[in-house]
Each structure stands twice: as C-alpha cells, then as structure tokens.
Symmetry: C2
Subunit: 327 residues, 2 copies
DNA sequence: TTGAAAGCGCTAACAT
DNA sequence: ATGTTAGCGCTTTCAA
C-alpha cells in the first residue's frame, strides 16, 4: 500500500480511503490510486485490515463431526449463505465426534478471532468456553445443547417430529409400532425416543418392551435387527426408525420381506432417493439449521444481549408410501 | 501479550518464546509466563502472528460450486484432512457455478492471503490469476482444468472410467448401448463421452446416433427421456448414464419398466443407496481428490517448482446387478 | 537465557 | 479533500 501511495503521489491514508470506497475523495485521486494499484498488482491484506479495525477476523468458525456428511455440509452451506452478505467467510473443521479434538479446534478458532463460533458438540464439558463467553465471544450450539452452560442453541424439533410420525402411523390404524434405534447415547436419539413415548401415551397405547429394538448403530445392524425381529412371534405392523442410517437398513431388510407381511415404515431424517424408494420420512432442513444458527450468532455480534435462546428447526412429514400402509 | 509480560515480570519477547515453545527459556520463566497467561485468560492472536511472520494466513482456500453437494463436501473433507497436520484451516465458499461470483470469491481469498487456493472452476477465464501466479501464489484446479493457463490440476479419470463401463457392458454381451447425458457443456461430461466413444471404437461397435440421448439435465428430465425412449422402436440393451443425477432418473424410469424389457444400467459417479437399489456404477473418491489437490498445493508452498502437473483420481467399477444383466 | 527496538500492512483519530 | 501520527498484537533482528 505504501508503494501504491508513492506511485500515485498521495498519502497512505488516501490509498486506504480509495480501497474502502470512503466518501470525500476526488474522482481524480481515485483514478490515480486505482491505476497505480493496478499497475503494481496491489491487493489489500485482509489480515492486516482485520487486525487493525476489529482485532477480530472477518470469519465465522464452524465445528461439525464430519464435513463430508451431507447433513453437516448442508449446515455449513446454510451458515455460508447467512454470513456471505456481511463479507464474512466460513472457517470450518471436522471434530470426528472426538471431544478432545473438538476442544483443540475450538481453541484454534478462538485464537483466530472468529467473529462467532458455531459448534455441533460431541462433548459434555465446555468449561473452557466460560472465560470467552464472559468476554462476549459469541458461541452458538447446533443440533445438540451444551448441557453445562447457557448459550444460544438451534435444535431440530426432535420430539415434535417423532410425535408426528407416530400419530401419522396411528391414523393409518397402527398400534403395534416398533421403535428402531441405537442405544440412547446421543441427545437427538433420546429426544426422538421421548417424542415417540409422548405420542404413544397421548394415544393411550402402552409401549410394548418387545417392540423397542435397540442396537441399530448403522445400516447393517439395523437391517439385521429388522430381519431377525420379523422372523419372531411379535411382529409389529409399523416401524419408526430413529435416523437416516437406521432407516436405510430397515428399507433393505423390508425389501427382502414378503410384501404381505411387510410393516409400514417411517424414518426420522430424509434419505436420498426416498421418493424413488417410496420411504415416508420426517424431514428437516439442514441448511435452515445453519442459517438460523448464523443469524442468531450475528445478532449477538450486533449486540443482542437478551437471555440465551433455543430455536427449533421445524420438521415435516413426507408421505411416500411406506408410512401409509394400513395396519 | 503485553499484559502477560508485565504480570510475569518478563519482556514481551519472552512471552512470545514461551507461547511458541521456543528453546532456551528457563523452566521457571516458562512456569511464570504460563500461569500469568492462564490467570489473564490470554489467547494468542493468530491474525497478528500470521501478519508478522508470513504475511500469509495459516488457511487454505477452497472454492466449489455448492458445499452442500456431497461430492464437493467430500472434496472439502479431503482438503481438511491433508492440511490439518500443518495447522492450516480450511476457508471455503460456494460459487453457485457462477463465474463472476467465483472471481469475486477468489479475489477475496487472495486478499485473505490464503497459503493456497483450490478451485473447482466454472469459468473459462482466469486471466485475473496471472499476476498472482507470477508471484508464486499457489492455485490448484480440481475436477475441471482451467483451460487458459498452466497450473496443477487434479481430475477424475473420466475417460478411463467411461471406457471401463462400456467394456464391462460389452463383456456382458451388450452392443446396443445408449449414452444418456446432458448437453456437452461441462468438461467432465465431454470427457466421459469421449471415453464412451473410444471404448466403442476399440470394440468395433459403431455409435448409433439414435442411442445418444441428450438433454438429461437432472433426474426428472433423465427419467422422462428414458421412459419415452423405451417406448420407441430402437431400444438399447444397456444404458450408460453420465452422472449421478442422470443415473437416479434412469433408475426411477427403469423401475417402472417391465422387468423383461429392462436394459442394463451403469452410471458414472456413485449414488447413495446404490447397493440397496442394485445399481452398478463407476465410482471415485471425492475425498481423494481433495487430498491430492491439497498435497500438490502444499508441495508448491514448500517450493516445488517443477512444471505444472495433472493428476488423475482413479475410478473403480462397482458391480451391483444393474450392469450385469445380459443382453 | 533474556530484552529492546523495529516493523508486518493496515486504519482510527485527529489534524489541516 | 487530503495528510500525519499512532498503534492493532505479534515476531524478527540484533544485542546483551
């Protein structure tokens, strides 16, 4: 910039003004500075700019389990969309669902002075964030609440979505509804199960312990469980699968079962080719989660100091056939 | 940092040494500085550090069409993996396949002094990069070559993958093979078509113009084309679909066709639930593309000044049934 | 082993 | 409309 100033015969500050399109610069000066800049191939240094003006970088940090997972990359895209208009860029990293890595990455992002940090946490310990929060560093949690501190959080409407699924099945005559899930390690899983139980209670259907199928950690386990349960005495007329992987396994197992004995199926999370496969699901928009999270965070950056909020991303039931079979 | 120095009763530089784990600092001093830092909740400022030490930030930029697309988010993940070990973070943005937005975002990333810029370009004009390249700014192209300049490029083995698909079909007795694609606007599309034609020539099968089906811009158009063509006189015994969206549409259309007249199908790009749907594909690893791109870029950062290279991400044919039907 | 001075590239605050 | 001065938080260089 110093070189541009010399070449254009003006002061450093004037070049700065031109680069930032500040008012009160004569057109002639602008032209002179611009051409000098072009000749020298000048490029502002955002690092220096951010350091001087804000002592904060013009980036927003995002920590997810795995950026390659379409759900999380959807969230990333939503964040990107929301922050782009303010000239902020997305700095993202994958935690591998590892609490220690998450911690290290969060520290790194804070060192980088991100304007806001959005976290899909895999940890139950966020003490290290307390000093930062005291200094009004903006931290927003996505998909899972921090548990041990109060901070803005954006969650899927897990309970509501699960209730809707069960009520939908009940409307189609089902009472013997199996809950197909993993073990209750994850927050979202527990919530969806809670929604299932609430809906069953509202419908006055006692939850049959034999129809609570656990241990479906992935598509393969899920398929195995469904196949073996269908060979049993107690066969449900409908299955509610707690996430996309589990649903995929169930679909595979059901495809092998004879049409006549095939239970109805509704899955939480949409799955690709769900329309093609005729799978009814409780869907939700991952980009919406990113957008809401970023919007909440930017509001805090702008000085919003209301009490921490919890926003819900709505779900919507998509009927595609598998959930509308009658009992 | 100044405050830490005062509190620990040492100089600024000593604090800096401790923070960077530089040698030649007495254990006592380290302890004093560390505790002072902890008490004050001190956190290094990576912006300032990068500004002073490198005049370059410790980030790598990535520009893709849409981060929400699983293929691109896979690439992002691969880049992330490759750069993480060096303390570099990923700064990413979506271009919406819009050349002007791509340009603006590239400039922005260069302003941010990314250590390397990885680009999936949608543009045919990269003149604006020339001055940067002259200054040894590292720019690497992914998935599509820049066309108008020489720079490292990582491509899928489009030609090889398409040839493998056609040969696989021929081995199963097929000669009437339809090419199902969009119009030849995209590089990858043209290359895959080239591979198809090469293989057909090698097999001494003349390409039948009536079996070159264009205009499949998305799943719906693809499904429509397949449905209408199957109702025609000239029905192929096999279909080669040029990308995942097109394959998805074809799968949907074929599912509606009577089993007996259903052509074999191989698609380029893997699709989710491909195993479930029994769809044979030419697969490739998006993360591998990101890793290779980042590795090439980092080698340049380290001073590699050999001529620009072009690396290929290998493809592999996954047989799942649809591509193994006999003619 | 430690420190003092200078400066990375830019902008805020106050001139003029 | 333009310029001067100071300094963001850190590291480099040189000295002790």
């Amino acid at each position: 910039m110093r070189q541009v100033a010399e070449r254009a015969g003006v002061s450093l500050k004037t070049v700065s003004r031109v680069m930032n399109h500040e008012p009160h610069v004569s057109p002639a000066t602008i032209a002179a500075v611009d051409s000098a800049a072009r000749e020298l191939g000048f490029r502002v240094n955002t690092l220096a700019r951010d350091l001087r003006s804000n002592a904060a970088s013009s980036t927003v940090g995002l920590l997810v389990g795995d950026l390659a997972n379409p759900f999380w990359s959807g969230v990333a895209r939503g964040v990107e969309r929301e922050i782009a208009a303010r000239g902020l860029r997305l700095l993202s990293a994958s935690t591998d669902e590892n609490p220690e890595l998450e911690w290290a990455l969060a520290e790194d992002m804070l060192d980088r002075r991100v304007r806001a940090l959005l976290v899909v946490t895999s940890s139950s310990n966020h003490e290290y964030l307390l000093p930062e929060l005291q200094r009004n560093v903006v931290v927003t949690f996505l998909d899972r609440p921090p548990g041990d501190l109060a901070s803005d959080t954006i969650l899927i409407d897990n309970v509501g979505g699960a209730r809707e699924a069960v009520r939908h099945l009940a409307r189609h005559g089902h009472r013997d509804i199996a809950l197909l899930g993993d073990f209750d390690t994850f927050y979202t899983h527990r919530e969806r199960r809670r929604g299932f139980e609430q809906a069953m209670a509202e419908l006055d259907i006692p939850v049959d312990r034999d129809l609570v199928w656990s241990g479906a950690g992935g598509p393969d386990q899920s398929a195995d469980i469904v196949s073996s349960k269908l060979a049993n005495a107690k066969v449900p007329t409908a299955i509610f699968a707690l996430n996309n992987w589990i649903t995929a396994g169930a679909v595979r197992a059901l495809a092998r079962a004879p049409e006549s004995t095939r239970p109805a199926l509704i899955g939480f999370d949409d799955i690709e080719f769900g329309d093609l496969l005729g799978v009814s699901v409780v869907a939700h928009d991952s980009e919406e989660m990113g957008r809401l999270g970023a919007a909440a965070a930017l509001a805090r950056v702008d000085g919003d100091s209301s009490p921490p909020r919890q926003d819900l991303v709505p779900t919507r039931l998509i009927a595609r056939g598998s959930g509308e079979r009658r009992a």
